[in-house]
Subunit: 141 residues, 2 copies
DNA sequence: TATTGTTATACTCTATAACTATA
DNA sequence: TATAGTTATAGAGTATAACAATA
């Protein structure tokens, strides 16, 4: 263990990388990437949400949201329909709703396994600590 | 707040992104990227460490370590010297030692500010939680 | 004027495969 | 046969700038 292991920023990167590797491996068979899952879950939560709104929620820029949403639409998981002349509301298709269920199962199992791997005395602190770091770092920017 | 905000994996990504943005902004004037800092700190901790050893410690592949180390050498911050016919040990130059001091100051201030932004009741849990998530995810892989 | 979506583009980070030189 | 370093390359992920259409 190097002295880097005392630095929250470094630990955050390593923890993120380790968890993402596991999640991506578990998602591999679904044809979804983790970013696809987050967008599909958001659309499921907020049917009709526009690309720009989704981008602001997920911290994805408009320019990068376009190919992402286009890919989900091409795969038949979402439809984009104009809500006014310039905004596109996104909704799940029936196939997309099935895909979300499938993804939700994997995510739920993954989060459960991850939490189970954390010592009981730290488990209740996982969510509060991560939220605090997120909000805290954002407040420093 | 979407339902994603209850998922450790998602929170980890957002927290990592937010902290990295702040850190990179603070490092901008030094000519260092965060990955440069982690390698320089490791070399400072372990003078003579080889590229492969450093790669295993930092989870950076040999193929990606080469241009990284070459850049630090070109900048005059490290020297690479053969330890046997195939391994290169890395050591800081005097200029590199100065650079590490500069970086360490920024890192220390950054980690302090980040910790200060976390509510006191969560603060002591930051390091244990991040270590637990890292090790836990690695054990799932 | 500001916003939405799009296109083009570039930069970083990460991953694999193939090669050489050496242990 | 395994390891160290290198090179080339490809794929994500993320960033900016410019544009047309619309509010």
């Amino acid at each position: 263990m190097s002295s880097l292991d005392a630095l929250p920023g470094y630990l955050l990167s390593r923890a993120r990388s380790a968890t993402l590797n596991v999640l991506n491996a578990r998602l591999a068979d679904t044809g979804l990437r983790h970013v696809d899952v987050s967008l599909l879950l958001l659309i499921d939560d907020t049917p009709g949400i526009t690309q720009s709104e989704a981008g602001r929620t997920l911290d994805i820029r408009r320019a990068n949201m376009t190919p992402l949403a286009a890919r989900l639409e091409r795969s038949g998981w979402i439809r984009r329909q104009p809500v006014d002349g310039r905004s596109h509301g996104m909704v799940l298709t029936p196939a997309g709703a099935d895909k979300v269920s499938e993804a939700r199962g994997i995510i739920t199992r993954f989060e459960h396994d991850l939490m189970a791997s954390v010592a009981p005395e730290q488990r209740d602190h996982v969510i509060p600590v991560l939220r605090a770091l997120w909000r805290g770092a954002a407040s420093l920017g």
